[in-house]
Amino acid sequence: MQVREIVNIKNISPEKIFTVSEFLEFLNNILTPCQATIKGEVGERIDSYPGYTFFNLLDKKKSILKCFAFKEVISGLGIPLEPGMEIKVTGYPEIRKNRGELKFQIQRIELIGEGVLKKQYEILKKRLEAAGYFAPERKKPIPEFCENIGLITSEYGKGAKKDFLTHLGNFGFKVFFYDVRVEGSFSLYEIIEAIHWFNTNLPYIDVLVLTRGGGDWESLSPFNSEEIVKTIFASKIPIITGIGHENDQTLADLAADFRASTPTHAAKVLTDSWKLASINLNEFEKNLNSSINRRFKIIKEKIAFFERNLTCILKKEILSKQKRLDDLIRNLNRGFQTYFKEFEILEKEFKKNLFKIKVLIRNEKAEIIRLLETLVKHKNRWERKVEKLLRQQEEKLSLSSPSLRLKQGYTITSDEFGKIIKDPRELKISQIIKTRFYKGQVFSRIKKIK
Protein backbone atom coordinates (compact mmCIF):
# COMPACT_ATOMS: atom_id res chain seq x y z
CA MET A 1 0.00 0.00 0.00
CA GLN A 2 1.51 3.30 -1.02
CA VAL A 3 0.32 5.12 2.07
CA ARG A 4 2.87 7.87 1.63
CA GLU A 5 1.62 8.56 -1.82
CA ILE A 6 -1.97 8.67 -0.68
CA VAL A 7 -1.55 11.19 2.09
CA ASN A 8 1.59 12.82 0.83
CA ILE A 9 3.45 12.32 4.14
CA LYS A 10 6.66 13.87 2.84
CA ASN A 11 5.13 17.30 3.00
CA ILE A 12 4.35 17.15 6.71
CA SER A 13 6.81 19.11 8.73
CA PRO A 14 8.18 17.38 11.87
CA GLU A 15 7.72 20.66 13.71
CA LYS A 16 3.93 20.65 13.12
CA ILE A 17 1.90 20.35 16.31
CA PHE A 18 -1.52 18.72 15.97
CA THR A 19 -4.55 18.85 18.18
CA VAL A 20 -5.82 15.35 19.15
CA SER A 21 -8.71 15.65 16.73
CA GLU A 22 -6.45 16.91 13.99
CA PHE A 23 -4.02 14.08 14.53
CA LEU A 24 -6.75 11.42 14.60
CA GLU A 25 -8.18 12.89 11.43
CA PHE A 26 -4.69 12.83 9.92
CA LEU A 27 -4.33 9.15 10.89
CA ASN A 28 -7.81 8.26 9.60
CA ASN A 29 -6.96 9.83 6.27
CA ILE A 30 -4.11 7.37 6.08
CA LEU A 31 -6.05 4.40 7.45
CA THR A 32 -9.45 4.45 5.80
CA PRO A 33 -8.20 3.92 2.23
CA CYS A 34 -6.42 0.77 3.48
CA GLN A 35 -9.19 -1.61 2.45
CA ALA A 36 -8.27 -5.18 3.35
CA THR A 37 -9.61 -8.65 3.98
CA ILE A 38 -8.63 -10.23 7.28
CA LYS A 39 -9.33 -13.71 8.56
CA GLY A 40 -9.70 -14.69 12.16
CA GLU A 41 -11.87 -16.08 14.92
CA VAL A 42 -14.80 -14.27 16.54
CA GLY A 43 -14.00 -13.41 20.16
CA GLU A 44 -16.09 -14.36 23.20
CA ARG A 45 -17.77 -11.01 23.65
CA ILE A 46 -20.25 -9.91 21.00
CA ASP A 47 -22.09 -6.62 21.67
CA SER A 48 -25.21 -6.58 19.54
CA TYR A 49 -27.34 -3.45 19.25
CA PRO A 50 -30.45 -3.02 17.06
CA GLY A 51 -28.55 -1.28 14.24
CA TYR A 52 -24.97 -2.55 14.68
CA THR A 53 -22.63 -5.00 16.36
CA PHE A 54 -19.18 -4.84 18.02
CA PHE A 55 -16.94 -7.86 18.35
CA ASN A 56 -13.24 -8.79 18.41
CA LEU A 57 -11.41 -10.73 15.73
CA LEU A 58 -8.58 -12.86 17.14
CA ASP A 59 -5.77 -15.05 15.84
CA LYS A 60 -3.62 -17.78 17.27
CA LYS A 61 -0.99 -15.24 18.41
CA LYS A 62 -3.67 -13.63 20.63
CA SER A 63 -3.72 -10.47 18.50
CA ILE A 64 -6.98 -8.54 18.65
CA LEU A 65 -8.73 -6.48 15.96
CA LYS A 66 -11.78 -4.58 17.25
CA CYS A 67 -14.54 -4.75 14.65
CA PHE A 68 -17.70 -2.82 13.97
CA ALA A 69 -20.47 -3.90 11.55
CA PHE A 70 -23.90 -2.54 10.66
CA LYS A 71 -26.90 -4.83 10.95
CA GLU A 72 -27.18 -5.31 7.11
CA VAL A 73 -23.59 -6.59 6.96
CA ILE A 74 -24.20 -9.13 9.74
CA SER A 75 -27.46 -10.33 8.15
CA GLY A 76 -25.59 -10.92 4.86
CA LEU A 77 -23.87 -13.77 6.69
CA GLY A 78 -27.13 -15.71 6.70
CA ILE A 79 -26.58 -17.13 10.22
CA PRO A 80 -26.08 -15.45 13.62
CA LEU A 81 -22.57 -14.44 14.55
CA GLU A 82 -21.20 -16.72 17.25
CA PRO A 83 -18.02 -16.74 19.38
CA GLY A 84 -15.32 -18.99 17.93
CA MET A 85 -16.66 -18.72 14.40
CA GLU A 86 -13.97 -18.68 11.68
CA ILE A 87 -14.61 -15.70 9.44
CA LYS A 88 -12.99 -13.32 7.03
CA VAL A 89 -13.95 -9.70 6.98
CA THR A 90 -13.51 -7.08 4.26
CA GLY A 91 -13.45 -3.41 5.22
CA TYR A 92 -11.15 -0.62 6.39
CA PRO A 93 -9.60 0.57 9.69
CA GLU A 94 -10.66 3.76 11.39
CA ILE A 95 -9.85 5.38 14.76
CA ARG A 96 -12.96 6.40 16.71
CA LYS A 97 -12.24 9.90 17.98
CA ASN A 98 -14.52 9.70 21.01
CA ARG A 99 -12.93 6.44 22.22
CA GLY A 100 -9.43 6.62 20.91
CA GLU A 101 -9.76 3.06 19.68
CA LEU A 102 -8.95 1.53 16.36
CA LYS A 103 -12.03 -0.16 14.92
CA PHE A 104 -12.20 -2.23 11.77
CA GLN A 105 -15.25 -1.05 9.84
CA ILE A 106 -16.65 -4.22 8.19
CA GLN A 107 -18.26 -4.02 4.73
CA ARG A 108 -18.57 -7.72 4.09
CA ILE A 109 -18.34 -10.71 6.34
CA GLU A 110 -17.84 -14.29 5.18
CA LEU A 111 -17.50 -17.61 6.87
CA ILE A 112 -14.42 -19.81 6.54
CA GLY A 113 -14.34 -23.55 6.87
CA GLU A 114 -16.41 -26.00 4.88
CA GLY A 115 -18.59 -27.13 7.80
CA VAL A 116 -19.76 -23.71 8.87
CA LEU A 117 -20.16 -22.58 5.26
CA LYS A 118 -22.42 -25.55 4.62
CA LYS A 119 -24.45 -24.62 7.67
CA GLN A 120 -24.75 -21.03 6.45
CA TYR A 121 -25.68 -22.33 3.00
CA GLU A 122 -28.48 -24.53 4.35
CA ILE A 123 -29.99 -21.75 6.45
CA LEU A 124 -29.86 -19.22 3.62
CA LYS A 125 -31.22 -21.75 1.14
CA LYS A 126 -34.18 -22.50 3.38
CA ARG A 127 -34.96 -18.81 3.89
CA LEU A 128 -34.69 -17.89 0.20
CA GLU A 129 -36.63 -20.96 -0.84
CA ALA A 130 -39.45 -19.98 1.51
CA ALA A 131 -39.40 -16.48 -0.01
CA GLY A 132 -39.99 -18.06 -3.46
CA TYR A 133 -36.64 -17.23 -5.08
CA PHE A 134 -36.17 -20.77 -6.37
CA ALA A 135 -39.77 -21.44 -7.40
CA PRO A 136 -39.82 -23.19 -10.81
CA GLU A 137 -42.92 -21.25 -11.90
CA ARG A 138 -41.04 -17.96 -11.47
CA LYS A 139 -38.17 -18.98 -13.71
CA LYS A 140 -37.85 -17.26 -17.08
CA PRO A 141 -37.87 -19.56 -20.09
CA ILE A 142 -34.61 -19.91 -22.03
CA PRO A 143 -35.31 -19.15 -25.72
CA GLU A 144 -35.07 -22.28 -27.84
CA PHE A 145 -32.56 -20.70 -30.22
CA CYS A 146 -30.32 -18.23 -28.43
CA GLU A 147 -28.25 -16.09 -30.76
CA ASN A 148 -26.96 -13.30 -28.53
CA ILE A 149 -25.23 -14.53 -25.41
CA GLY A 150 -23.85 -12.48 -22.54
CA LEU A 151 -20.95 -14.40 -21.01
CA ILE A 152 -20.00 -13.46 -17.45
CA THR A 153 -16.84 -15.15 -16.26
CA SER A 154 -13.17 -14.55 -15.63
CA GLU A 155 -10.66 -13.99 -18.37
CA TYR A 156 -8.02 -15.66 -16.21
CA GLY A 157 -10.00 -18.32 -14.33
CA LYS A 158 -9.59 -22.07 -14.49
CA GLY A 159 -10.51 -22.24 -18.14
CA ALA A 160 -14.25 -21.68 -17.77
CA LYS A 161 -14.29 -19.13 -20.59
CA LYS A 162 -12.18 -21.38 -22.84
CA ASP A 163 -14.33 -24.45 -22.03
CA PHE A 164 -17.50 -22.56 -22.78
CA LEU A 165 -16.30 -21.06 -26.07
CA THR A 166 -14.70 -24.32 -27.22
CA HIS A 167 -17.89 -26.27 -26.75
CA LEU A 168 -20.14 -23.61 -28.20
CA GLY A 169 -20.84 -24.91 -31.71
CA ASN A 170 -20.54 -22.66 -34.72
CA PHE A 171 -24.11 -21.54 -35.18
CA GLY A 172 -23.64 -17.81 -35.64
CA PHE A 173 -23.69 -16.95 -31.94
CA LYS A 174 -22.77 -13.44 -30.84
CA VAL A 175 -20.98 -13.68 -27.55
CA PHE A 176 -20.61 -10.53 -25.46
CA PHE A 177 -17.99 -11.28 -22.87
CA TYR A 178 -17.92 -9.41 -19.56
CA ASP A 179 -14.77 -10.12 -17.56
CA VAL A 180 -15.31 -10.48 -13.79
CA ARG A 181 -13.45 -11.96 -10.90
CA VAL A 182 -15.10 -15.21 -9.81
CA GLU A 183 -13.29 -15.62 -6.53
CA GLY A 184 -12.42 -13.37 -3.62
CA SER A 185 -14.11 -10.53 -1.82
CA PHE A 186 -14.74 -8.33 -4.85
CA SER A 187 -16.06 -11.00 -7.16
CA LEU A 188 -19.61 -10.77 -5.84
CA TYR A 189 -19.92 -7.06 -6.62
CA GLU A 190 -18.36 -7.45 -10.04
CA ILE A 191 -20.75 -10.25 -10.97
CA ILE A 192 -23.75 -8.26 -9.74
CA GLU A 193 -22.51 -5.24 -11.68
CA ALA A 194 -22.11 -7.39 -14.82
CA ILE A 195 -25.69 -8.71 -14.59
CA HIS A 196 -26.96 -5.16 -14.09
CA TRP A 197 -24.85 -3.92 -17.00
CA PHE A 198 -26.35 -6.42 -19.44
CA ASN A 199 -29.89 -5.70 -18.23
CA THR A 200 -29.32 -1.98 -18.69
CA ASN A 201 -27.23 -1.85 -21.85
CA LEU A 202 -28.11 -4.99 -23.80
CA PRO A 203 -31.63 -5.79 -22.60
CA TYR A 204 -32.49 -7.60 -25.87
CA ILE A 205 -29.85 -10.24 -25.36
CA ASP A 206 -31.27 -13.82 -25.36
CA VAL A 207 -29.45 -15.24 -22.37
CA LEU A 208 -26.75 -14.60 -19.79
CA VAL A 209 -24.28 -17.35 -18.95
CA LEU A 210 -22.70 -17.03 -15.52
CA THR A 211 -19.95 -19.53 -15.28
CA ARG A 212 -16.73 -20.51 -13.52
CA GLY A 213 -14.66 -23.61 -13.04
CA GLY A 214 -14.87 -25.87 -10.02
CA GLY A 215 -13.50 -24.93 -6.64
CA ASP A 216 -13.83 -25.64 -2.97
CA TRP A 217 -16.95 -24.57 -1.14
CA GLU A 218 -15.24 -21.51 0.30
CA SER A 219 -14.21 -20.19 -3.10
CA LEU A 220 -17.81 -20.55 -4.24
CA SER A 221 -19.07 -18.27 -1.48
CA PRO A 222 -19.97 -15.35 -3.83
CA PHE A 223 -22.37 -17.76 -5.58
CA ASN A 224 -23.90 -18.73 -2.24
CA SER A 225 -24.81 -15.22 -1.19
CA GLU A 226 -28.21 -13.64 -0.77
CA GLU A 227 -27.20 -10.73 -3.01
CA ILE A 228 -26.43 -12.90 -6.03
CA VAL A 229 -29.69 -14.83 -5.61
CA LYS A 230 -31.67 -11.59 -5.57
CA THR A 231 -29.79 -10.19 -8.57
CA ILE A 232 -30.34 -13.34 -10.65
CA PHE A 233 -33.98 -13.37 -9.64
CA ALA A 234 -34.43 -9.72 -10.64
CA SER A 235 -32.67 -10.04 -14.01
CA LYS A 236 -35.02 -9.54 -16.95
CA ILE A 237 -32.65 -11.55 -19.14
CA PRO A 238 -32.80 -15.30 -18.42
CA ILE A 239 -29.67 -16.65 -16.78
CA ILE A 240 -27.94 -20.00 -17.20
CA THR A 241 -25.39 -20.87 -14.53
CA GLY A 242 -22.49 -23.22 -15.07
CA ILE A 243 -20.65 -23.10 -11.81
CA GLY A 244 -18.11 -25.55 -10.49
CA HIS A 245 -18.33 -29.26 -10.85
CA GLU A 246 -21.41 -31.34 -11.14
CA ASN A 247 -21.91 -31.95 -7.42
CA ASP A 248 -21.71 -28.33 -6.38
CA GLN A 249 -25.14 -26.80 -6.54
CA THR A 250 -24.81 -23.20 -5.35
CA LEU A 251 -27.63 -20.86 -4.39
CA ALA A 252 -26.95 -19.04 -7.67
CA ASP A 253 -27.66 -22.34 -9.46
CA LEU A 254 -30.93 -22.70 -7.59
CA ALA A 255 -31.97 -19.16 -8.48
CA ALA A 256 -30.86 -19.47 -12.12
CA ASP A 257 -33.43 -19.97 -14.86
CA PHE A 258 -31.45 -23.00 -15.98
CA ARG A 259 -28.66 -24.74 -14.13
CA ALA A 260 -25.89 -26.25 -16.21
CA SER A 261 -23.38 -28.27 -14.21
CA THR A 262 -20.24 -26.87 -15.88
CA PRO A 263 -19.22 -24.21 -18.43
CA THR A 264 -19.03 -27.02 -21.03
CA HIS A 265 -22.54 -28.14 -20.17
CA ALA A 266 -23.82 -24.54 -20.47
CA ALA A 267 -22.31 -24.32 -23.97
CA LYS A 268 -23.83 -27.67 -24.88
CA VAL A 269 -27.29 -26.58 -23.69
CA LEU A 270 -27.14 -23.53 -25.98
CA THR A 271 -25.77 -25.53 -28.92
CA ASP A 272 -27.93 -28.65 -28.76
CA SER A 273 -31.12 -27.00 -30.00
CA TRP A 274 -29.25 -25.62 -33.04
CA LYS A 275 -27.69 -29.00 -33.77
CA LEU A 276 -31.06 -30.65 -33.46
CA ALA A 277 -32.62 -27.96 -35.65
CA SER A 278 -30.18 -28.61 -38.48
CA ILE A 279 -31.07 -32.32 -38.34
CA ASN A 280 -34.78 -31.62 -37.95
CA LEU A 281 -34.83 -29.18 -40.86
CA ASN A 282 -33.78 -32.01 -43.19
CA GLU A 283 -36.43 -34.22 -41.63
CA PHE A 284 -39.06 -31.51 -42.04
CA GLU A 285 -38.05 -31.08 -45.66
CA LYS A 286 -38.34 -34.82 -46.26
CA ASN A 287 -41.70 -34.96 -44.48
CA LEU A 288 -43.06 -32.01 -46.43
CA ASN A 289 -41.97 -33.52 -49.72
CA SER A 290 -43.38 -36.95 -48.94
CA SER A 291 -46.60 -35.39 -47.55
CA ILE A 292 -47.20 -33.34 -50.67
CA ASN A 293 -46.31 -36.29 -52.91
CA ARG A 294 -48.69 -38.50 -50.98
CA ARG A 295 -51.43 -35.89 -51.42
CA PHE A 296 -50.75 -35.72 -55.13
CA LYS A 297 -50.85 -39.50 -55.40
CA ILE A 298 -54.19 -39.61 -53.59
CA ILE A 299 -55.59 -36.89 -55.83
CA LYS A 300 -54.29 -38.66 -58.96
CA GLU A 301 -55.90 -41.90 -57.88
CA LYS A 302 -59.14 -40.10 -57.21
CA ILE A 303 -59.05 -38.45 -60.64
CA ALA A 304 -58.36 -41.82 -62.33
CA PHE A 305 -61.25 -43.35 -60.42
CA PHE A 306 -63.57 -40.51 -61.38
CA GLU A 307 -62.44 -40.83 -64.98
CA ARG A 308 -63.28 -44.53 -65.08
CA ASN A 309 -66.56 -43.97 -63.35
CA LEU A 310 -67.46 -41.09 -65.60
CA THR A 311 -66.80 -43.10 -68.80
CA CYS A 312 -69.02 -45.84 -67.53
CA ILE A 313 -71.84 -43.45 -66.64
CA LEU A 314 -71.51 -41.63 -69.94
CA LYS A 315 -71.70 -44.84 -71.93
CA LYS A 316 -74.85 -45.87 -70.10
CA GLU A 317 -76.35 -42.46 -70.65
CA ILE A 318 -75.52 -42.47 -74.37
CA LEU A 319 -77.05 -45.93 -74.82
CA SER A 320 -80.24 -44.94 -73.05
CA LYS A 321 -80.48 -41.74 -75.11
CA GLN A 322 -79.90 -43.71 -78.30
CA LYS A 323 -82.69 -46.11 -77.41
CA ARG A 324 -85.04 -43.25 -76.72
CA LEU A 325 -84.10 -41.68 -80.02
CA ASP A 326 -84.80 -44.91 -81.90
CA ASP A 327 -88.19 -45.20 -80.22
CA LEU A 328 -88.92 -41.64 -81.14
CA ILE A 329 -88.05 -42.17 -84.81
CA ARG A 330 -90.20 -45.30 -84.94
CA ASN A 331 -93.16 -43.48 -83.42
CA LEU A 332 -92.65 -40.58 -85.78
CA ASN A 333 -92.66 -42.88 -88.84
CA ARG A 334 -95.78 -44.57 -87.68
CA GLY A 335 -97.42 -41.18 -87.14
CA PHE A 336 -96.43 -39.95 -90.57
CA GLN A 337 -97.80 -43.05 -92.29
CA THR A 338 -101.20 -42.61 -90.63
CA TYR A 339 -101.17 -38.95 -91.49
CA PHE A 340 -100.35 -39.60 -95.14
CA LYS A 341 -103.20 -42.12 -95.42
CA GLU A 342 -105.64 -39.64 -93.94
CA PHE A 343 -104.32 -37.02 -96.27
CA GLU A 344 -104.91 -39.26 -99.31
CA ILE A 345 -108.52 -39.82 -98.30
CA LEU A 346 -108.95 -36.10 -97.80
CA GLU A 347 -107.43 -35.38 -101.18
CA LYS A 348 -109.82 -37.75 -102.94
CA GLU A 349 -112.78 -36.23 -101.19
CA PHE A 350 -111.58 -32.75 -102.05
CA LYS A 351 -111.29 -33.61 -105.75
CA LYS A 352 -114.82 -34.99 -105.70
CA ASN A 353 -116.12 -31.83 -104.05
CA LEU A 354 -114.18 -29.61 -106.42
CA PHE A 355 -116.07 -30.99 -109.39
CA LYS A 356 -119.39 -30.32 -107.67
CA ILE A 357 -118.30 -26.74 -106.92
CA LYS A 358 -117.29 -26.20 -110.52
CA VAL A 359 -120.80 -27.21 -111.73
CA LEU A 360 -122.37 -24.98 -109.16
CA ILE A 361 -120.24 -21.98 -110.15
CA ARG A 362 -121.04 -22.53 -113.80
CA ASN A 363 -124.78 -22.54 -113.08
CA GLU A 364 -124.52 -19.47 -110.92
CA LYS A 365 -122.57 -17.66 -113.61
CA ALA A 366 -125.31 -18.37 -116.24
CA GLU A 367 -127.97 -17.12 -113.87
CA ILE A 368 -126.06 -13.86 -113.26
CA ILE A 369 -125.66 -13.25 -117.02
CA ARG A 370 -129.32 -13.77 -117.50
CA LEU A 371 -130.17 -11.38 -114.72
CA LEU A 372 -127.83 -8.78 -116.16
CA GLU A 373 -129.50 -8.93 -119.52
CA THR A 374 -132.93 -8.44 -117.95
CA LEU A 375 -131.59 -5.53 -115.97
CA VAL A 376 -130.28 -3.77 -119.07
CA LYS A 377 -133.60 -4.24 -120.79
CA HIS A 378 -135.48 -2.76 -117.81
CA LYS A 379 -133.03 0.08 -117.55
CA ASN A 380 -133.68 1.36 -121.10
CA ARG A 381 -137.39 1.22 -120.61
CA TRP A 382 -137.22 3.13 -117.36
CA GLU A 383 -134.94 5.70 -118.79
CA ARG A 384 -137.35 6.59 -121.51
CA LYS A 385 -140.25 6.79 -119.13
CA VAL A 386 -138.40 9.10 -116.74
CA GLU A 387 -137.35 11.38 -119.57
CA LYS A 388 -140.94 11.87 -120.68
CA LEU A 389 -142.09 12.56 -117.16
CA LEU A 390 -139.41 15.13 -116.67
CA ARG A 391 -140.33 16.98 -119.78
CA GLN A 392 -143.99 17.16 -118.73
CA GLN A 393 -143.00 18.51 -115.31
CA GLU A 394 -140.73 21.09 -116.87
CA GLU A 395 -143.50 22.44 -119.02
CA LYS A 396 -145.89 22.59 -116.12
CA LEU A 397 -143.32 24.43 -114.05
CA SER A 398 -142.53 27.03 -116.71
CA LEU A 399 -146.25 28.00 -116.95
CA SER A 400 -146.38 28.76 -113.23
CA SER A 401 -143.13 30.71 -113.16
CA PRO A 402 -143.34 34.31 -111.53
CA SER A 403 -141.22 35.84 -114.35
CA LEU A 404 -143.79 34.64 -116.86
CA ARG A 405 -146.50 36.29 -114.76
CA LEU A 406 -144.44 39.53 -114.61
CA LYS A 407 -143.98 39.42 -118.35
CA GLN A 408 -147.81 39.20 -118.71
CA GLY A 409 -148.01 42.48 -116.65
CA TYR A 410 -148.57 41.18 -113.19
CA THR A 411 -146.60 42.71 -110.30
CA ILE A 412 -145.46 41.36 -106.99
CA THR A 413 -145.73 43.51 -103.87
CA SER A 414 -143.53 43.04 -100.85
CA ASP A 415 -142.69 45.03 -97.71
CA GLU A 416 -139.34 46.74 -97.30
CA PHE A 417 -137.87 43.49 -96.04
CA GLY A 418 -138.87 41.57 -99.14
CA LYS A 419 -141.82 39.71 -97.57
CA ILE A 420 -144.48 39.16 -100.22
CA ILE A 421 -147.77 40.82 -99.25
CA LYS A 422 -150.88 38.79 -99.86
CA ASP A 423 -153.24 40.65 -97.48
CA PRO A 424 -153.21 44.52 -97.18
CA ARG A 425 -154.22 44.17 -93.51
CA GLU A 426 -150.67 43.12 -92.82
CA LEU A 427 -149.57 46.66 -93.77
CA LYS A 428 -149.66 50.01 -91.94
CA ILE A 429 -150.26 53.64 -93.12
CA SER A 430 -146.93 55.36 -94.20
CA GLN A 431 -145.16 52.00 -94.51
CA ILE A 432 -142.97 51.70 -97.61
CA ILE A 433 -143.74 48.85 -99.94
CA LYS A 434 -141.82 47.48 -102.96
CA THR A 435 -143.55 46.63 -106.22
CA ARG A 436 -141.68 44.44 -108.67
CA PHE A 437 -142.34 44.61 -112.40
CA TYR A 438 -141.14 42.54 -115.27
CA LYS A 439 -138.56 45.19 -115.80
CA GLY A 440 -137.55 47.16 -112.61
CA GLN A 441 -139.28 47.95 -109.27
CA VAL A 442 -141.03 50.84 -107.49
CA PHE A 443 -140.99 51.88 -103.76
CA SER A 444 -144.28 53.55 -102.61
CA ARG A 445 -145.74 54.87 -99.30
CA ILE A 446 -149.17 53.68 -98.24
CA LYS A 447 -151.82 56.34 -97.91
CA LYS A 448 -154.91 54.29 -97.44
CA ILE A 449 -155.84 50.72 -96.79
CA LYS A 450 -159.21 49.33 -97.79
Binding site: F171, K174, S278, L288
Partner: protein, 70 residues
Protein backbone atom coordinates in the same frame (compact mmCIF):
# COMPACT_ATOMS: atom_id res chain seq x y z
CA UNK B 1 -39.56 -12.31 -45.16
CA UNK B 2 -37.02 -9.55 -44.97
CA UNK B 3 -33.48 -10.97 -44.47
CA UNK B 4 -32.70 -8.45 -41.73
CA UNK B 5 -35.83 -9.24 -39.80
CA UNK B 6 -35.47 -13.01 -40.24
CA UNK B 7 -36.14 -14.65 -36.94
CA UNK B 8 -34.89 -18.22 -36.77
CA UNK B 9 -37.01 -19.18 -33.76
CA UNK B 10 -40.23 -17.91 -35.34
CA UNK B 11 -39.42 -19.52 -38.69
CA UNK B 12 -38.59 -22.82 -37.01
CA UNK B 13 -41.81 -22.76 -34.98
CA UNK B 14 -43.80 -22.06 -38.14
CA UNK B 15 -42.13 -25.00 -39.90
CA UNK B 16 -43.03 -27.24 -36.96
CA UNK B 17 -46.65 -26.10 -37.18
CA UNK B 18 -46.77 -26.70 -40.95
CA UNK B 19 -45.41 -30.21 -40.39
CA UNK B 20 -48.05 -30.88 -37.75
CA UNK B 21 -50.70 -29.59 -40.12
CA UNK B 22 -49.61 -32.07 -42.78
CA UNK B 23 -50.20 -34.89 -40.30
CA UNK B 24 -53.95 -34.31 -40.57
CA UNK B 25 -55.87 -36.75 -42.72
CA UNK B 26 -58.27 -34.53 -44.54
CA UNK B 27 -56.52 -31.53 -46.06
CA UNK B 28 -57.33 -29.12 -48.80
CA UNK B 29 -54.94 -29.39 -51.75
CA UNK B 30 -54.77 -25.64 -52.45
CA UNK B 31 -53.99 -24.96 -48.83
CA UNK B 32 -51.50 -27.83 -48.80
CA UNK B 33 -49.64 -26.34 -51.77
CA UNK B 34 -49.58 -22.93 -50.15
CA UNK B 35 -48.29 -24.37 -46.87
CA UNK B 36 -45.79 -26.56 -48.70
CA UNK B 37 -44.32 -23.55 -50.50
CA UNK B 38 -44.21 -21.53 -47.30
CA UNK B 39 -42.60 -24.44 -45.42
CA UNK B 40 -39.94 -24.91 -48.11
CA UNK B 41 -39.18 -21.19 -48.17
CA UNK B 42 -38.70 -21.15 -44.40
CA UNK B 43 -36.62 -24.34 -44.41
CA UNK B 44 -34.31 -22.83 -47.02
CA UNK B 45 -33.99 -19.61 -45.03
CA UNK B 46 -33.21 -21.53 -41.84
CA UNK B 47 -30.63 -23.62 -43.72
CA UNK B 48 -29.09 -20.44 -45.12
CA UNK B 49 -28.90 -19.04 -41.59
CA UNK B 50 -27.18 -22.24 -40.38
CA UNK B 51 -24.71 -22.13 -43.27
CA UNK B 52 -23.61 -18.59 -42.51
CA UNK B 53 -22.95 -19.52 -38.92
CA UNK B 54 -19.67 -17.98 -37.82
CA UNK B 55 -19.57 -17.09 -34.14
CA UNK B 56 -18.68 -13.53 -33.21
CA UNK B 57 -16.96 -12.61 -30.02
CA UNK B 58 -16.88 -9.23 -28.39
CA UNK B 59 -15.37 -8.21 -25.10
CA UNK B 60 -17.44 -5.72 -23.17
CA UNK B 61 -15.61 -2.59 -22.19
CA UNK B 62 -17.58 -0.87 -19.52
CA UNK B 63 -19.37 2.28 -20.58
CA UNK B 64 -19.28 1.02 -24.15
CA UNK B 65 -22.77 0.36 -25.41
CA UNK B 66 -22.78 -1.62 -28.65
CA UNK B 67 -26.44 -1.00 -29.42
CA UNK B 68 -25.77 -1.11 -33.17
CA UNK B 69 -25.26 -4.81 -32.82
CA UNK B 70 -29.01 -5.24 -32.65
Amino acid sequence: MDEKKFNFTKAYQEIEKINEWFEKEDIDLDEALEKYERGMELINKCKERLKKAENKFEQIKKKYIPKDEF
